[in-house]
Symmetry: C2
Subunit: 303 residues, 2 copies
């Protein structure tokens, strides 16, 4: 096992300016694993309900994703609904049926505990801590979180403990501002780095993502696409591509982290082209290197 | 004369989250010329009123800007007031006192008519056309415009004529959408290219700028700054740096246009650091190459 991804499996009901997808496969752990599956052996840690569909399990298995960490619990699968504005960076959450998520324990199978790479998707920081307690020899732990945990006096103390033990955090601009108390993103990233993670990735949706490390800042734009059908999962696909690429390297330095940013952007750019996981689960062998090079063409100029 | 910049000279009264500047030097032509002055001999075509200040004329002259195209008219100088939101990409215009702008004729001195490079700042398309009629051997004409002209049945026909005669257009995302009728910026740029300019630069404020040319797309991020005091003039400084750099080259191709994008971004990034023209008018000799290389570090990754 190269990478263990902890998060949600969901049914997503999503409406965008171009159409609607009802109760399709989604969830942070799903996008993370699908994106990472092109690079490495990844195991999923998440909970499904009794209503989860066999076809989705088959899909994940076909992509080589290890399902030993999947817990089937009594009740229904987590179901999330949202509607995107014409400005796809803005969405309204219509409903959040947590369902089995309330009983999710994030226990790792024995084989997962030895993994070198972990990604803690956006879940209760107490569960993220529980995963960290089980990891025996982690090399690089990435994490995501959200305002719900950041701005709560109940959850924030645990979140701060998680931060102290992680190497990389992936948050959007609003989360970075709430977490740090700084509006300016350069200052926000500097404050967050003091909380633990050496590497802070601030995701800006259609405006790309910025990686702040010691003495290095790297800007990865979002790929300019003629058609974006569904932005859901872009951030998790980004993290999955990023982490997946890291597992293929035998060291971690700025040059490698920059390439990881572009692989992350590559996977995110494919995800948003179609609804649900339709595109990110169906990439051909050359698709990833093709878009990686397209990013190079997009950003390359003479010194 | 390498470059002629047509536009406004203004008094700007600007309030931002960090402070306020009252009746300070501003205007599209001013930012354009100051930014371009680090690269080439630039002449300004704009109108001032009787209340314009000698110190500002001295400043422009000190920067080597040719003032023969300046018209001093009866009445007061154009005065513009705006307040920026915490999100500096959003501002409310508080007042627009056109004053002498109503009598501005955009007549070029004889020495300006032979210039190879022109930039038509955001003014009445009829005046932009009048400038084009006077240009004898233009090599590259850049232009800006705004929704006021784009969305008016009175002004739009002239605007379309201007577009047909220009090589490069610099518009923000909203203007690109209004001009093209396309929300998606990739599609919008393709539509605008059909209207005339081979090169379309879409400016996205703090999210950077994208250059669309035949078979080439280039993304220049905005420089991540710890402090932005006043975004006013960023777009014009961008265009001034872009055009100024172009004048130093004896050909125009994609590699050179990409460098021009970074020089434009460099000048824009300095402009926003301080109120009014305080920073862009006071750059040291090495400042520009230093930030150009900082952009390289910001965007560079292994192929």
């Amino acid at each position: 096992m190269d990478l263990v991804a902890i998060g949600t499996i969901a049914f997503d009901t999503v409406e965008t300016p171009t159409g609607k997808a009802e109760k399709q496969l989604g969830g942070t752990a799903v996008y993370l694993c699908l994106a990472a599956s092109y690079f490495c052996k990844v195991g999923i840690v998440a909970a499904t309900g009794k209503d989860f569909r066999q076809e989705y399990l088959d899909l994940l298995r076909e992509k080589g994703i290890d399902l030993d960490g999947l817990q089937e619990l009594e009740g229904d699968t987590f179901h999330w609904g949202a509607k995107y504005h014409k400005d796809l960076n803005v969405r309204d959450t219509l409903f959040t049926h947590l369902n089995v998520l309330l009983d999710f324990t994030a226990d790792l199978p024995a084989t997962y505990k030895e993994a070198p790479f972990f990604f803690l998707g956006n879940i209760d920081p107490a569960l993220q801590l529980h995963v960290l307690d089980q990891a025996k020899n982690p090399v690089f732990i990435g994490m995501d979180t959200m305002n719900y945990w950041i701005n709560s006096s109940e959850y924030r103390p645990n979140l701060m403990k998680v931060l102290q033990k992680t190497q990389g955090i992936f948050v959007n601009d609003e989360e970075a501002r709430d977490l740090s108390g700084e509006y300016n993103l350069v200052k926000a990233a500097a404050e967050i780095r003091k909380m633990g993670p050496q590497h802070v990735v601030i995701k800006k949706g259609e405006h790309g993502a910025i990686l702040f490390s010691e003495g290095s800042v790297f800007y990865a734009p979002a790929f300019p696409l003629e058609m974006v059908n569904d932005p859901t999962g872009a951030g998790d696909s980004f993290a999955g591509g990023f982490m997946g690429y890291l597992t293929t390297q035998n060291k971690i330095n700025n040059a490698i982290l920059r390439k990881a940013m572009i692989y992350g952007s590559t996977l995110a750019s494919y995800t948003v082209e179609e609804y649900s996981v339709n595109r990110v689960a169906a990439l051909g062998t050359s698709s990833i290197s093709e878009r990686y090079h397209a990013f190079y063409e997009l950003m390359n100029f003479d010194k």
